[in-house]
């Protein structure tokens, strides 16, 4: 039945995470932005609370939380959590310890031995991260065009190439690195390797300075005759004979895109609420505002777009929980949330006027942070490409 009530478990989690985001995460976020990292004690606290990149941004994975009467609700819980925490600070969410975006490929493609070896390291008390290294300087949206090469030599693969924009790539205990054994094979030539920190021939090129999400690490990774043991080829060699590897890598987007969209909803909601507070104070003080009607309209527009975006996110997550193919809806949620997130954060600055300029009013930070939600995890254009392809697929036309 159509329903929009959170389950008791979902509500509890949401309230708890909201409290945490309000009390701990947001107050630390301005310093974090300046210092390019979330304070360690806060991450330790998050870890102690059981919050991880596993339970949150990829809540939909097979490891996701299961609901009461046997109904899967991991994706719905994941997006609710992502929204609340990103409301506090989006960088904090990306800094949560755990396998991060590297988790899904290991879980979907890894052999039992690999899963044990690479995922168990997150069980201990230490803060550890995994990362997902696909993008290259010359291959972003066009992921099929990656140039990092993998050449087999005895018991090893030799990797050569550069990865860029890799979230947590430098601090990660390992990166899932996509490379090609033969560029002529296109996607069939792609292989996914787990490259551990300290592997000979692997180094961090540089950490990139960014417009926003400044507390999140974005790294360039260099593979210079990097020697990776064959046991680190995800899924083992046979798997790739079935040409499955790349497809599975892409499928992780079906649950990660709604989660990323949920983060955009969280940031936009933060900006809207702050703008609303400022507007309310002005209007209640009776300050004459020739902008009164315009401000009320702006608030109405911001609120409804945020709420509409959330419904897209919820629908995509609900479909993932029900194991209904949701590629189109996942991309819709990401496209829409990325777009309106930017609009809302910009409108919030209009409403707040002068206060929108000031670092300690948060609005300028959220404006900087939100932009990337229309870029990473597939740009707005790529989401539209996915949505329109699905529309035409249904009509039997391949575009």
């Amino acid at each position: 039945m159509i329903e929009f009530e959170l389950s008791p478990q979902q509500r509890q989690l949401k309230e708890f995470l909201h409290w945490f985001a309000e009390q701990q995460v947001r107050p630390a976020s301005l310093e974090a932005d300046k210092n390019h990292d979330t304070p360690l004690p806060l991450l330790q606290q998050a870890k102690a609370m059981g919050l991880s990149m596993e339970s949150v941004p990829s809540g939909g994975g097979p490891g996701g939380v299961e609901g009461g009467q046997g109904e899967r609700q991991g994706n719905r819980i994941g997006v609710i959590a992502a929204e609340e925490l990103a409301w506090g600070d989006a960088s904090f969410v990306l800094n949560l310890p755990g396998a991060g975006l590297g988790g899904p490929p290991v879980r979907f493609m890894g052999t039992p031995e690999q899963k044990e070896r690479f995922l168990s390291i997150f069980n201990g008390p230490e803060l550890r991260w995994g990362a997902y290294a696909l993008t290259e300087p010359e291959a972003g949206s066009d992921v099929a065009g990656i140039r990092t090469t993998a050449r087999k030599e005895g018991d090893h693969y030799i990797l050569n190439g550069t990865k860029t924009f890799i979230t947590n790539g430098a601090k990660a205990s390992w990166n899932v690195v996509f490379a090609t054994v033969d560029r002529n094979l296109g996607r069939a030539g792609h292989r996914a390797f787990v490259v551990e920190k300290g592997t000979p021939g692997f180094r961090v090129g540089r950490i990139m300075d960014k417009m926003g999400l400044r507390a999140s690490e974005t790294a360039e990774l260099v593979f210079d005759n990097c020697v990776v043991p064959v046991e680190n080829l995800l899924g083992g060699e046979e798997r790739y004979l079935q040409r499955e590897g790349f497809k599975v890598a892409m499928q992780t987007f079906d649950s990660s895109r709604p989660t990323v969209a949920a983060m955009a909803v969280g940031i936009a909601r933060a900006a809207y609420e702050r703008a609303r507070e400022i507007a309310r104070q002005n209007l209640m003080l009776g300050r004459p505002s020739p902008r009164y009607a315009a401000i009320v309209e702006a608030l109405a527009t911001m609120a409804r777009k945020i709420d509409a975006a959330r419904l897209l996110v919820w629908k995509a997550a609900w479909m993932a929980d029900a194991r209904v193919p949701n590629t189109k809806e996942a991309s819709m949620s990401k496209a829409y949330a990325g777009q309106i997130g930017m609009e809302v954060c910009s409108m919030a600055i209009d409403v707040a006027a002068g206060a929108g300029l000031l670092h300690d009013e948060y609005l300028e930070k959220w404006f900087r942070d939100i932009k990337v939600y229309d870029i990473f995890e597939g740009t707005g254009q790529i989401q539209r490409l996915v949505v329109s392809r699905r529309i035409f697929d249904d009509l039997g036309v391949r575009i």
Binding site: A300, L312, V387, L395
Partner: protein
């Protein structure tokens, strides 16, 4: 638990409505538009299926359908043809306003007849002059013993011709400057004069007339609700707005489907136009906005069914739906190019129909104001609206 799964009942209703829309409304839409009317046989079928009284309470012979179900059904019917829908029998928008304001016995008395046979009702609120949004009601209701006498001019009344009763907005002395009352006026009452039929932008299968009230004498119990401010009128109209928004989404969905199919066959510069991103991304945006708006509308409908305060959510959802529907129907015409502009294809009609639909209920300015004031908590904080 958050769920977008339709119940079996809703699926049954949706399929029934879709079938009617597909086999009865859609094929007849152009003919009805040109004729400016819907044939009696189709009206009978609509009535026999009970589509005219789905929303009425059971004591008035209706199905007492909840708002989520109603949104689902009306979307399907809108997908068929919104113009014909508003020429169909039943209490229509009149019903929603009466249900929102009148006591149970009054509802039964005023609405019970629609389940029994073919009958129409009409709403006469708007008036000439700028605004046309309820603020500027100049029609007066002057007490005359136990009765009232109505004087005024209603410029645009949907379904005025053939209606057996009207809901008329007028100001009583108690209402003062800024409020109004709603009265029920029976057709044929002395002094009630139907004006000329308007030609309209869209929804032409339905008829719009002006209506003059020239000293119409009505009994005291014709007063359904008094002292309504424009903001309260907005709330009273809420359910009608929800239904109109669902219909608009249905029309827009039809437009997206049509434009997608067209783009999948039409060629230019040696390739399908679907292969141009200026086309395919436009379509993706149209589909995405509809999906987003439908989610929000369902949430508003669900909240209304739960008895929650929807003073923000409902107008917000209606605005979202109108915005998406206007965008998508305009987009469909654009994607068909010149072919979209001529009447060989239905998209130009859908664009006009949606534009017209958005004017039948709460208006954009008032909906925006209501949503913004409620969202910001300004109304409850004592800021004057």
């Amino acid at each position: 638990m958050i769920s977008f799964a339709l119940s079996d009942d809703d699926k049954g209703l949706r399929d029934m409505a879709h079938d009617f829309a597909d086999t009865r409304l859609r094929p007849a839409a152009r003919d009805c538009e040109r004729a400016g009317a819907v044939p009696a046989a189709l009206q009978n079928e609509y009535h026999d299926l009970g589509l005219d009284v789905l929303a009425l309470p059971e004591n008035a012979g209706g199905a007492g359908l909840g708002n989520v179900s109603l949104a689902i059904v009306q979307e399907e019917l809108g997908w068929g043809d919104a113009g014909m829908l508003h020429a169909m029998p039943g209490p229509g928008l009149f019903g929603y306003l009466v249900m929102a304001t009148a006591a149970a016995e009054t509802q039964e008395r005023l609405l019970g007849r629609y389940a029994q046979g073919l009958a129409h009702a009409a709403v006469a609120v708007g008036e000439p002059g700028p605004g046309y949004s309820g603020e500027l009601v100049e029609t007066t209701a002057v007490p005359d013993g136990d009765s009232y006498r109505l004087h005024g001019h209603k410029r645009i009344v949907l379904g005025a011709e053939g209606a057996d009763q009207y809901l008329v907005a007028a100001r009583t002395p108690q209402d003062g400057e800024s409020a109004m009352s709603l009265f029920v006026v029976a057709a044929g009452t002395d002094g009630l004069k139907l004006g000329a039929r308007h030609r309209t932008l869209g929804l032409e299968a339905a008829a719009f007339h002006s209506l003059d009230l020239d000293g119409v004498l009505i009994p005291g119990d014709a007063l359904v609700a008094g002292g309504l401010t424009p903001a309260q009128l907005e709330l009273v109209q809420g359910r009608a707005d929800l239904v109109l928004a669902a219909e608009a989404l249905g029309v827009a969905r039809a437009a997206v489907e049509y434009a997608s199919s067209y783009a999948a066959t039409r060629k230019a510069f040696g390739q399908l136009i679907a292969a141009f991103q200026g086309v395919s991304f436009y379509l993706a945006d149209m589909a995405t906005q509809l999906e987003a708006a439908r989610g929000l509308l369902w949430q508003a409908a669900w909240s209304l069914d739960q008895g929650q305060d929807v003073s923000y959510l409902l107008p917000a959802a209606v605005l979202q739906a109108y915005e998406a529907a206007l965008f998508a129907t305009n987009g469909a015409v654009q994607l068909l190019g010149g072919h979209g502009y001529v009447q060989d294809h239905p998209v130009e009609k859908w664009m006009r129909d949606v534009r017209a639909l958005t004017l039948l209920g709460g208006h954009r300015d008032r909906l925006t104001w209501a949503a913004g004031m409620a969202a910001a908590g300004l109304a409850s904080a004592g800021v004057k609206s």
